[in-house]
């Protein structure tokens, strides 16, 4: 709106209203500034500038400034006096010392009354005085009501409490007996009603749902009757009254104060502030110490909050990043050195992880600095424009409104950063090192060598990569597609309206999914072992002597079949859910048009099911791509074929189990990390494309 460094003629508030300046000195300067700006003649311009300098030099002699200083002096004296008289006033209130809340309210009212008379004289002099005056006037209107309410409520409460004492020894046997009788009576009624409703149901007059609802209804009635009756007991009624009163007192007091604060905030927004400053330099000067700027802006609670952040930055983040307080590492520097030349017990991997943690901490610290700077800067800039800085009440509201999503996401963010991101970053960085059996404790950066080895298919670990990738792709496509086909066809068959025993089939078909996969896989593995049940059956049937676990092709086929068995269950349930939701009239319409069963399946069922389950089917493929359990538990990735696969992998290993063997069993962590990154990148791209095409993303309603 206006250039920095120049004083504007008018002031603006939050809503954009315009106000006249009360500070005549600043107004004079502002008018001069305007003149200078509009003046074309250079000589005159120079003259005006000189005039401006003159005014600035003689600031203390300016008539407005003199009266302002006078006001400030008087205000100071007044405030001191107020402090003193406040203390006296509190002393005079000694009759209810324990009641802190009341004392607080009363003193506030006392102060406001004094302020009201003092500031009234200076309303025209400065906006600050006007604001104080308005605040005080609001206080004097609201506070008496609040105090009255509070006193009334407390007296009611205390009389109730006194009553409680009296009732303590009251014998309520009569009532108790009566209540028991009443309860028995009501119970009888309940039983009768229940019976009646059940009979209705038996006769088939009402549905099961209606029966349930009615039963609930009469139970509620019964409970209510008892609750009402209970209140006839004096003790109980007294107890309840005290409880309600306490709650009411607390809640209403809160609301009333909130209303007062909100009204004050309203004036805050409508009363501008006048300052001489034209450049928001606080924010730049205090950029490194969050909290200081807020303090200079007179937002003290905010200042405290940011000081806590400052403590985090300078006592945690910065020292950690520099290497102090590390377990072994050297902060961020450790990422470069990787413990090179360090002690024997120093491990490169620890240096790496601590370096990553240090980086994340630094990112958080920088984030806080930026937030603090932006906050101070905004408040300062607004103050120059004339907008009064918001008070704590408003800040609190803003935090609980706009800051809410950030605050509640914080735990998730922390867990994601330290449990998910740090390990992934570690793996990412590991893939550029030479961590292998010879370099376990100390390793160094080797750039893209690992990736080169994988892609070129070189080295001990790299040469089988493409072979394994090939089988991984075959496995993923075959096993998933088989499971989808089985599940889908079964769901279609069971869903046929002429088939009976749907519940039976659906329950049985659920089993492969419900039984934990590791159990079934291991049991399958036992069954196809030499001498196992399945092996014997196959041998008896074919007359051959097959050893599934020693034959790569048979192992692979068995794996695919097993995953078909395991995975079909999930697809079956999913498809059944979708099938049941397809409206029947679609099929009826098709029938009318003379469609055959096959047509109906092809034109109605398949497209609808596919459309709704497509994203989940995609996740099935990615799931099997990484299906470690099936491969590893079935045959440990075997059988081994050293000529073709070397010693590190077996012929049924997929990438994820290969990574496991590289990392866990053989300590080729770096190559394993590189392959992990390779997979992850592939999967990410895959998911990203799928997500980009999804309905939600396209419609922009994420």
């Amino acid at each position: 709106m206006k250039k920095l460094g120049k004083i504007s003629v008018f002031l603006y508030d939050n809503i954009g209203n315009t106000y006249e300046r009360k500070n005549k000195y600043l107004l004079e300067l502002a008018l001069l500034d305007e003149k200078i700006k509009n003046e074309k003649d250079n000589d005159l311009k120079r003259k005006l500038k000189k005039q401006r300098r003159e005014i600035k030099k003689n600031k203390s002699k300016h008539s407005y400034i003199i009266s302002l200083r006078d006001y400030e002096k008087k205000e100071k004296a007044f405030l001191n006096e107020l402090k003193r008289s406040k203390k006296e006033y509190i002393k005079s209130l000694k009759e209810d010392k324990t009641n802190r809340k009341l004392i607080k309210l009363k003193t506030r009212l006392f102060e406001s009354e004094k302020k009201l008379t003092f500031y009234k004289e200076y309303i025209d002099l400065s906006y600050d005085a006007e604001f104080e005056y308005r605040k005080a006037s609001l206080d004097t209107i609201h506070l008496p009501k609040i105090i009255e309410f509070f006193i009334d409520g407390q007296s009611e409460l205390s009389s109730a409490l006194a009553e409680k004492e009296k009732l303590k020894n009251l014998d309520e046997n009569d009532f108790n007996n009566e209540f028991k009788r009443f309860k028995a009576f009501q119970k009888d009624i309940l039983k009768e009603e229940k019976l009646r409703i059940k009979n209705l149901r038996k006769q088939g007059l009402i549905s099961k749902k209606a029966e349930e609802n009615r039963l609930k209804e009469i139970k509620k009635k019964y409970d209510n009757a008892l609750e009402i009756k209970k209140r006839e007991s004096k003790k109980f009624a007294n107890k309840e009254f005290i409880k309600t009163k306490k709650y009411e007192l607390k809640k209403n007091l809160k609301t009333m104060t909130k209303v007062l604060e909100a009204d004050i905030s309203d004036y805050r927004r409508k009363t501008p502030v006048e300052i001489e400053k034209t450049i928001p330099y606080y924010s730049y000067l205090t950029i490194l110490i969050p909290g200081l700027g807020q303090g200079l802006n007179k937002q003290y609670m905010k200042m405290l909050l940011f000081f806590i952040a400052t403590i985090f930055i300078y006592l945690v983040a910065v020292p950690y990043a520099l290497g102090y307080g590390n377990y072994q590492g050297q902060g961020i520097a450790g990422l470069i050195s990787l413990a090179e030349g360090g002690l024997r017990i120093h491990k490169s991997i620890i240096f790496m992880i601590e370096g990553i943690v240090a980086v994340f901490l630094s990112i958080i610290a920088v984030g806080i600095l930026i937030i603090s700077f932006l906050d101070v800067h905004k408040v300062e800039k607004n103050a120059i424009k004339g907008i009064r800085p918001s008070n704590w009440f408003e800040t609190k509201m803003t935090i609980s409104e706009e800051g809410f999503p950030y605050i509640v996401s914080l735990p998730a963010l922390l867990i994601i950063v330290f449990i998910v991101l740090v390990p992934i970053m570690t793996t990412f960085l590991l893939s550029f090192t030479n961590m292998d059996p010879q370099h376990q404790s100390k390793f160094t950066w080797i750039g893209l060598n690992n990736y080169k080895m994988i892609i070129m298919g070189e080295g001990l670990a790299g040469k089988v990569f493409w072979l394994i990738l090939g089988w991984t792709v075959i496995w993923t496509l075959a096993a998933t597609t088989l499971a989808i086909l089985i599940g889908f066809i079964l769901a279609l068959l069971v869903n046929n309206e002429r088939i009976r025993g749907k519940k039976f089939f659906r329950t049985i078909y659920l089993l492969p999914w419900a039984v934990p996969a590791f159990i079934t896989i291991m049991f399958f593995s036992i069954m196809v072992a030499p001498g196992g049940v399945l092996t014997e059956i196959i041998n008896n049937l074919t007359g051959l002597k097959v050893e599934i676990k020693n034959n790569p092709t048979l192992t692979r086929i068995a794996l695919i079949l097993m995953q078909g068995w395991l995975g079909s269950s999930y697809i079956f349930i999913l498809t059944t859910g979708v099938l049941q939701a397809i409206p029947g009239d679609l099929y009826e319409a098709a029938d009318m048009d003379g469609a055959t069963a096959w047509d109906k399946i092809r034109r109605i069922t398949v497209p609808l099911v596919l459309f709704q389950t497509a994203p989940l089917l995609v996740t099935q493929y990615t799931f099997n791509f990484n299906n470690f359990s099936a491969i590893f538990l079935f045959n440990g990735g075997g059988p081994f074929d050293p000529i073709k696969y070397g010693n590190l992998a077996g012929s049924s290993d997929i990438l994820i189990s290969y990574i496991y063997k590289l990392t866990m069993d053989n300590q080729y962590q770096a190559i394993g990390a590189a392959i992990t990154m390779f997979i992850s990148l592939g999967l990410m791209i895959f998911t990203f494309i799928g997500f980009k095409n999804s309905k939600q993303f396209k419609e922009g309603r994420l």
Partner: protein, 298 residues
């Protein structure tokens, strides 16, 4: 009732056209296929059941051995192995994971569904992509991270690390699921509550949470079942048999030569599977609805 049945036999009451011969053969074949698959599912499970109770089975489960009912494999499981400790471990880990996940996710799901804040879409996308990376990817780091933390806080056990990893892995996808669910709840309810003076937190606690309870149940259930199903992380991260979860513990009964006892594995597997199967059958509908809502995550 009887009358109706009689009528049914006499009259053709169905609104479907009567079956042709082809149709009848088709139905018959359908039944054949369905029962064949029932057999395919039940047979292996039945074998496991039989082996668990077969006293004639020795260390290895062999075919064609005679059957003799006995519960000695179960006795072995309870006396010779740490089965009960494993159950306890798994329950603790699963319970804590479910609780943590529920707390964290219920907030993020609500925030992402109801608020349009800076960085929302970017972080959603980031979550999306991160969750595609298998949890297994960070395995090397987990070890070291645990040793660093436990050197500072000795009480920090590997099981706690496991809980955190499970929770961290569950946040992303469950946030999506819950967000999708809350999206379907009309915002008019929130607005009404806010007009009546509810704070954001109370809107969630009093309005959204009760409505989203079915989905929250599913999320809790899934994250509870997760540790029962996961074998990989437990086996890698937990090192002593005392701290094993069920999956890792049972695995030692099939692979480790010192503790090898396949019928005991079958018995343990059975005991583990039965409660979960019952849970699945009882909550079939809810679990499935959770899955289809999960399609949001694409």
């Amino acid at each position: 009732m009887k009358k109706r049945k009689e009528n049914k036999e006499k009259l053709y009451l169905s609104d479907k056209p009567p079956l042709t011969l082809f149709g009848k053969i088709g139905i018959f074949l359908t039944y054949v296929v369905l029962f064949a698959w029932v057999y395919a599912i039940v047979w292996p499970l039945f074998q496991m059941f039989v082996s668990a109770f077969n006293g004639k089975q020795q260390q290895y489960i062999m075919a064609n051995s005679n059957f003799e009912f006995s519960i000695r494999h179960f006795q072995y499981l309870f006396t010779e192995t740490l089965y009960l400790t494993w159950v306890k471990n798994t329950l603790i880990i699963a319970g804590t994971t479910a609780l943590l996940t529920l707390i964290v996710v219920s907030f993020t799901g609500y925030a992402y569904s109801r608020y349009r804040f800076k960085g929302r879409n970017a972080s959603l996308m980031a979550i999306m992509l991160i969750q595609t990376i298998p949890t297994f990817a960070g395995i090397t780091a987990y070890f070291t991270m645990h040793s660093i933390v436990s050197s500072i806080i000795p009480q920090f056990s590997r099981q706690m690390m496991l809980i955190l990893i499970y929770t961290g892995g569950a946040i992303a996808s469950n946030t999506f699921i819950l967000k999708g669910y809350i999206d379907s709840v009309s915002t008019e309810l929130d607005d009404a509550a806010k007009i009546d003076g509810c704070s954001n937190f109370n809107v969630y606690r009093l309005i959204i949470m009760p409505i989203a309870r079915p989905m929250l149940t599913i999320i809790a259930l899934w994250s509870f079942i997760g540790p029962f199903m996961d074998y990989l992380l437990a086996k890698v991260l937990l090192t002593s048999p005392q701290s094993y979860t069920l999956a890792a513990g049972l695995y030692t009964l099939v692979t480790d030569f010192r503790t090898m006892n396949q019928p005991a594995f079958a018995a343990g597997g059975l005991l583990t599977a039965v409660p979960i199967v019952i849970l699945f059958i009882a909550l079939q509908k809810q679990l499935v609805s959770g899955l289809t809502s999960g399609s949001v995550k694409g």
